[in-house]
């Protein structure tokens, strides 16, 4: 459950540090963060293990009409852990991705139409304006912190995550818990979202890991020999 998590080890923040960071918070600029305007709640599961399901709170901003980027937290609260990232693109951009890239992305049609993806606090009518667009998009989610298995720190390597694509995948308990905490009903949403449509060309067969599981692995590589001047791609 996302309502409580294992504490991150460490001493409480010292007063001096806290004061300084309050100052930086008011003096410095935070434009990239200020571009984040939306909170979406959805469910992810590990691309190699559908039984491990995570409630994912997305805080998203538009880079433009066709590309969004989101920070994923384990809760919508002040003490939330930053656990991952999602990128969302429209269908036309998804189709430009190389074929070895497409399996890393998932479709949003089912979770939007199924009512499982929602914007907490936003009335249905407004929500649906945006979900009309989201329904047709593809997303790429990477998690860095496996707090669903109780990790107190972000250990290990990044995990590709997938989204719901069919009925029966989402754990009942997780669903009920989220419905209760946010005062939503997935079934009601399903009714109201009947007219939403998915990608114009249908769900691409390579998306959603083309129906397979995907597991990330770590590999050692040789570092290229020293050059006298580092290259810069500007």
């Amino acid at each position: 459950m996302a309502t409580s998590h294992v504490d991150v080890p460490g001493e409480p923040t010292e007063t001096g540090t806290a004061l300084l960071e309050t100052a930086t918070g008011t003096i410095q600029g935070f434009q990239p963060i200020n571009n984040i305007h939306q909170h979406l709640c959805a469910f992810h599961f590990y691309a190699h293990d559908m039984t491990r399901q995570v409630e994912a709170h997305h805080f998203c901003g538009h880079l433009n009409e066709d590309v969004r980027q989101c920070l994923i937290y384990d809760s919508p609260n002040k003490d939330a852990r930053l656990i991952g990232i999602e990128y969302i693109v429209v269908e036309s951009l998804f189709l430009t991705l190389p074929d070895d890239e497409k399996p890393l992305w998932h479709s949003h049609e089912f979770e939007v139409k199924g009512g499982y993806l929602f914007m907490p606090g936003v009335p249905g009518m407004v929500e649906r304006q945006d979900l009309k667009q989201v329904c047709k998009t593809y997303g790429k989610v990477i998690h860095f912190w496996q707090d669903d298995r109780g990790d107190p720190l972000p250990l290990g390597i990044p995990q590709i995550m997938m989204a719901l694509t069919r009925p029966g995948q989402l754990d009942e308990n997780i669903a009920k818990d989220v419905e209760k905490r946010f005062g939503v009903s997935f079934e009601e949403q399903r009714e109201q979202r009947k007219d939403l449509t998915g990608p114009d060309h249908g769900i691409h067969p390579l998306a959603n890991a083309a129906g397979r599981g995907l597991k990330t692995e770590l590999r050692e590589v040789d570092i290229p020999p020293a050059t006298s001047m580092p290259r810069v791609f500007v």
């Binding site: 066709d66 991952g84 399996p103």
Partner: protein
């Protein structure tokens, strides 16, 4: 001729051409009614030429084709298999089964695609008024609490762990969880158009020492980049930066980069790259041009930073497991491999 799922030898009807096979009366295991359609087979990545491609679920190497559908708007999951060497029209089918070909990695450059281009310009249309209105609405009603916790902006440089000569300027937006742990959203600039390029976690040396050595290898030390002034807090007078730097000098970071903008990626491609920090070793020193440009932008005087930080206590000891490449000459890359999906028996 018909293709029958229950037969071990699917037989297909007309071969339209080298790349198309027509199937009729296919019966699938999961659906009772017969399906028919056309499979277009293509080696190319030009997906748009084959709009009626079917959806496959690749099981094993020897892939069996059980059924096909007219258009993939329905996207069901079917197993398909390919009998290699059979004369009638199967020849091309295996090429559709992309999962048996190479998969993405963090250190392999993706093949030619419109998603890579000079200047890595973002593709897509400008944000519409409609979207902006929705966002304003959301902003008024939603709390955004987690994102409001970030109250520190640091600008520094990072190196790709598998190729230290690739160096980028990064903008960390940081939230402190406690005295020993910080979490950062990393962007490629500090403008509203900044791209989210990764996440970094920072831990104190106390916490770092508790990590298993396999984990420690993925982390890098911060002492060098802070003492040399590569790491700076834009907009803050150097003196005010001191207390923060004192505590950060002894920390370690773990930074995954999810968007290789410097490579020309117009969209986030591949697997995350493990990043490393600048170090006092030739191959890990940041190109002076990059630093000069950054310093000019933020009015950082190289002299100021280095001087005030010279007094800062060096960590007595930096764990040799961190900055793994220094002792071992090896970096890390991330691959992804297809596996059987673990499920509770629910439909995949």
């Amino acid at each position: 001729m018909t293709c029958n799922a229950h037969s071990s030898k699917p037989v297909c009807s007309d071969v339209l051409d080298e790349s198309s096979v027509v199937f009729n009366n296919l019966k699938s295991k999961s659906k009772k009614h017969p399906m028919h359609g056309i499979a277009h087979v293509s080696e190319s990545t030009d997906y748009e030429r084959t709009p009626s491609l079917t959806a496959w679920n690749t099981g094993k190497d020897d892939i069996s084709l059980i059924s096909i559908q007219k258009s993939f708007k329905e996207a069901p999951r079917y197993s398909c298999y390919h009998k290699k060497g059979q004369k009638k029209g199967y020849k091309g089918i295996h090429s559709v089964l992309y999962l048996n070909r190479s998969m993405a990695s963090s250190d392999k450059k993706p093949g030619p695609t419109p998603a890579i281009g000079p200047g890595s310009t973002l593709p897509g249309k400008p944000t519409t008024l409609g979207s902006k209105l929705i966002e304003s609405g959301a902003m008024m009603l939603q709390s955004m609490a987690p994102v409001r916790q970030m109250n520190l902006h640091a600008c520094t440089f990072a190196l790709y762990g598998h190729d230290l000569s690739r160096q980028i300027e990064t903008h960390h937006f940081i939230q402190r969880i406690n005295q020993d742990f910080l979490q950062c959203a990393v962007f490629d600039s500090d403008k509203p158009s900044a791209r989210l390029i990764g996440v970094e976690y920072i831990v104190s040396d106390n916490i770092f020492e508790t990590l298993p050595s396999e984990e420690q290898k993925l982390w890098h030390s911060h002492a060098y980049e802070i003492k040399t002034g590569l790491w700076t807090l834009p907009g803050m007078p150097e003196l005010l930066q001191d207390p923060e730097h004192k505590s950060l000098t002894k920390t370690y970071g773990k930074f995954w980069c999810t968007w290789q903008v410097d490579r020309g990626d117009r969209l986030p491609l591949g697997l995350p790259s493990l990043m490393m920090s600048p170090q006092a070793v030739d191959i890990a020193r940041v190109n002076p041009e990059l630093v000069k440009r950054r310093d000019r932008k933020y009015g950082v005087s190289r002299g100021d930073a280095k001087e005030s930080r010279v007094e800062m206590a060096e960590p007595e000891w930096i764990n040799p497991n961190a900055d793994y490449w220094k002792q071992h000459g090896k970096g890390f890359a991330i691959d992804v491999v297809p596996v059987e999906m673990k499920s509770s028996g629910a439909l995949i």
